[in-house]
Structures are given as structure tokens and as C-alpha cells.
């Protein structure tokens, strides 16, 4: 089949997207530069498409156009007015613990309230970048790390803790951690596998299930470094603390145990193995990277004064701890006498988390501008 006419259709569709995105306004130069590069790429692809018919070149051109559309989809939701600035900046800080600063976190806001996920395409598909470089001489100095989240919850700082887990998927794939752990688990004897059996209920043989389950454990531990046990609460609620594993995810009970054992320093074979391979692959240790905040500022309706990144990440767990104690406890600690509902507590805490984080980053940008 001659795909040229379909490739031309793809080109026209992409052109609409490119035109619509020309007025995007970003809070940082990196995204603007990235989009300028995308515009150059589109012109180059368009100029190279006429007269194509062989199968291989069509495939690469098709992927170049998909690359442009995929990038624009995420950039569209990362403009000044729609990007969840506070949480994305926290994720940036966490990402920089693990990787050189050649990536930009972008978000796509979805209508599904459970739409927390990570899309690896633009950050990790090295061959796409190599192909673009060879065919048009265009290089991207930075790549996009694409995180999907629900539009309605984009400024909800309780559910936002799971975004650290999604960032973990990027780090995992970047260093191929779960893949290598899975291959190591496959290579051990069945008698040695017994220690992992409780956590890897799919057994040793199915590499895809093994890799997927280990990836989830890695991401849970990765997130726990920054937000402690906070995502456990949300996960337990959403899955009703399920004891069932699926093809793609371990059971919630096992995931919660792995996080708790990591945080509480309890000996756990899966945690030990993931920590070992993570260090071998990335040169970084999986360790606690947040501060347990002890403060009564939120009870005084004041944001926390944050002076370091461990405290920055710690503010999420701090808000969760107060939330879990309920509105009556908040009322007593705040010395309130009137009605104080759960909804009041939610709005106050959510707002205070946003203010605490926002103040930290504003102060940082002021400091930077004075240097």
C-alpha cells in the first residue's frame, strides 16, 4: 500500500496543531526554545515529504509528525495559565536529584479523575531524536518528561503526591532499573526465588509481568523518598486495600508493605534488591529525601517557611498527617470555636500547601535575580 496520501493527511493535521500552538505563552525559556525547534522541525519534515514512496522513510516521517503532535499536546497544557506550577516545580527538584538538567517536565490535563500516568515517548525514545538529527540536522537540547494528571485535580495537593510515583517511572526507564532487576530475578534458582515469592506472585518466568510489578515497586519506593507514606492512603482508598495483583500491578497490600518497610528500615528482600540495582544503574541511593515537619503553622493558618528541599517535599506528608486526624482535631489545635467542617479543613490545608510551596519558589527566583 502506498502510504504517501495518508502521510500527507497526517502532515495537514499536524500543521493545524502547529498553527494553533503559535501563540502559546510559557513561564520559562526552555519550553519556548523547544517549541521554536518544533516549528523548525515541522518545516523541515514538510519540505522533505514530497515525492516519498519507500516504506522506511515514510515510517520515520510519520514518527516525526507524531513527535511534533505529542510534544504540542503536552506543551499546550504547560502554558502559564494552566500549568500546576507548584507541584511541577517540586517534581523538578526531585528529578534533579536523579538526572542532569536536560529534561523539562510538562503536563497533560485529562478529564478522567484517575488519569495519573507517565508517558515515556518524548523523554526516552532516543532513536526518534537520532533520526531527526540525521535527517534534518535539528537537535533538541532538552527533552520533555510527560506527566498526565486529571484536570479537576491539578491543584489538589493531596492526590498530587502520586505524581512523584509517575516521575519514578521516568527515572526507572531512564536507567532501565526494573528491567535489569527482573532479569536478575529470572536468573536466580527457584530456591532463591522463594524469598521474593510473596511480592512477585506472577512467578519468575513471565518477564513482562515481572518487570511491570518491579517497576511499580520501584516507583512506590522512589515516591516514598519524597512523600513518605502519603500515597499509600490514597492508593488504599482507591483500591479498597486490594489483596489482588493484576498483570500490570502488584496488590495494594504488597505495595503498601514495601513502602512501609522502606520508610521504617525493615529488612525486605524486594526493597534490598531494588536499592542495590538502583545504585548500580544510576549511582544514586534510594534514601529518605524529605523532612518530617513538626510545626503548628498550619493551625495558625500560616504557610510553612521552607528553607531546604527536604522540607519542601515534606510539606505534602505534613498536610496529609493533619488531614488524617480529622477536622475536629484541627479545630481544637487551631483554637476555633465555630463550625469547622471537613470541607473547610480541605480548603485550608490545600491552600496552605500551595502557599508554602509557592513562597519557596518565589523566594528562590528573587534570590536568583539578585545574583
Amino acid at each position: 500500500m502506498d502510504y504517501t496520501s495518508l502521510l500527507n493527511l497526517h502532515l495537514s493535521q499536524t500543521e493545524i496543531f502547529v498553527e494553533k500552538s503559535k501563540n502559546n505563552s510559557y513561564s520559562d525559556l526552555d519550553k519556548k526554545n523547544y517549541q521554536d525547534n518544533l516549528n523548525k522541525l515541522f518545516s523541515a519534515v514538510k519540505g522533505s515529504i514530497s515525492g516519498l514512496s519507500a516504506v522506511a522513510p515514510v515510517f520515520e516521517k510519520q514518527e516525526h509528525l507524531s513527535f511534533i503532535c505529542n510534544s504540542l499536546e503536552f506543551l499546550k497544557d504547560s502554558i502559564l495559565s494552566s500549568m500546576p506550577f507548584e507541584v511541577v516545580n517540586c517534581l523538578n527538584v526531585a528529578m534533579n536529584d536523579w538526572i542532569d538538567q536536560q529534561y523539562i517536565i510538562v503536563t497533560s490535563l485529562n478529564n478522567n479523575t484517575l488519569a495519573f500516568s507517565y508517558d515515556p515517548t518524548l523523554a526516552l525514545e532516543d532513536f526518534v531524536y537520532q533520526s531527526i538529527d540525521i535527517q534534518y540536522g535539528i537537535t533538541f537540547a532538552k527533552r520533555l518528561v510527560q506527566i498526565n494528571l486529571p484536570l479537576i485535580l491539578s491543584r489538589d495537593y493531596f492526590s498530587s503526591v502520586v505524581l512523584y510515583h509517575e516521575l519514578g517511572h521516568f527515572i526507572d526507564l531512564k536507567y532501565a532499573i526494573s528491567k535489569i532487576v527482573a532479569m536478575e530475578v529470572q536468573s536466580i534458582s527457584s530456591s532463591d526465588f522463594i524469598q521474593y515469592e510473596q511480592f512477585l506472585v506472577g512467578g519468575q518466568n513471565e518477564i513482562d509481568i515481572l518487570t511491570d510489578h518491579l517497576a511499580e515497586y520501584f516507583c512506590d519506593i522512589f515516591a516514598a523518598q519524597y512523600i513518605g507514606k502519603s500515597s499509600n492512603y490514597y492508593l488504599q482508598y482507591l483500591t479498597r486495600n486490594s489483596s489482588n495483583a493484576s498483570y500490570s500491578h502488584p496488590s495494594t497490600i504488597n505495595r503498601v508493605k514495601v513502602v512501609n518497610d522502606f520508610i521504617d528500615n525493615i529488612d525486605n528482600p524486594i526493597v534490598k534488591l531494588i536499592k542495590k540495582i538502583t545504585f548500580n544503574r544510576s549511582g544514586r541511593h534510594l534514601i529518605k529525601r524529605h523532612e518530617d515537619i513538626v510545626s503548628d503553622e498550619f493551625y495558625k493558618f500560616l504557610p510553612i517557611e521552607i528553607d531546604n528541599t527536604a522540607k519542601l517535599h515534606g510539606v505534602f506528608a505534613y498536610a496529609w498527617e493533619i488531614w488524617l486526624k480529622g477536622p475536629d482535631d484541627f479545630k481544637v489545635n487551631a483554637g476555633l470555636t465555630g463550625d469547622f467542617t471537613s470541607d473547610n479543613a480541605y480548603k485550608v490545608l490545600n491552600n496552605l500547601v500551595e502557599k508554602s510551596i509557592g513562597n519557596y519558589f518565589i523566594e528562590k527566583s528573587w534570590e536568583a535575580s539578585l545574583i
Partner: protein, 101 residues
Amino acid sequence: MLRSHNQQELEFDFFISFLQHAIEGDDEYIKLVQPILSDVIQVVNQEKGISELDSVGLNVKILLSQKANSLFSGLSEDKLNRKIFNDILNVLNENKRHALA
């Protein structure tokens, strides 16, 4: 959804496309496939472990080191040529479906 995204499949498809360019003698693409194949040679000849490989083209490297062992055994990087690229292409086309199953 109309088309599900599979990063592994995309990696194989790109590498196959790169190999086709290399077989046609395009030097730029030959330079691109060489480091991937060099890693496979080292793994097959036990000079490097899979856990030491970087993640660029990792799925391709793992598949080739498992399915094209005889092709790479005793091979050195300077012996890579169009005939070998073609043999590698056949191995990838034969095994890609299995790797993605």
C-alpha cells in the same frame, strides 16, 4: 483506542529502519547502529554484562544478544559489514513479534 502505543515496538521499528539505511550504505546510519551492535558483541563475547548496558536501544541489544548469539560470537566491531547488517535485520524481523508478544 485506535492504536496503542508501545515504546518497545517503536524502538525495534526505528532500529530496523536505521539498519535498512545502513545496508544501503548511508554512513550516518552506519555510525548510528555501530554502538548498539558493539554492545551486543561485547555481551555475547562476555566482555560486558547486560546490567552494564546503557538504556539506549536496550530492548534491541537484549533481543540480539539472546537470539543472534551465533552471529555475534567471535565477531569484532571492525568486521561489521552490509552482509552482517542484513543478517541482523532478518533476525530482528523474525523475532520482533516474539519479543513483543
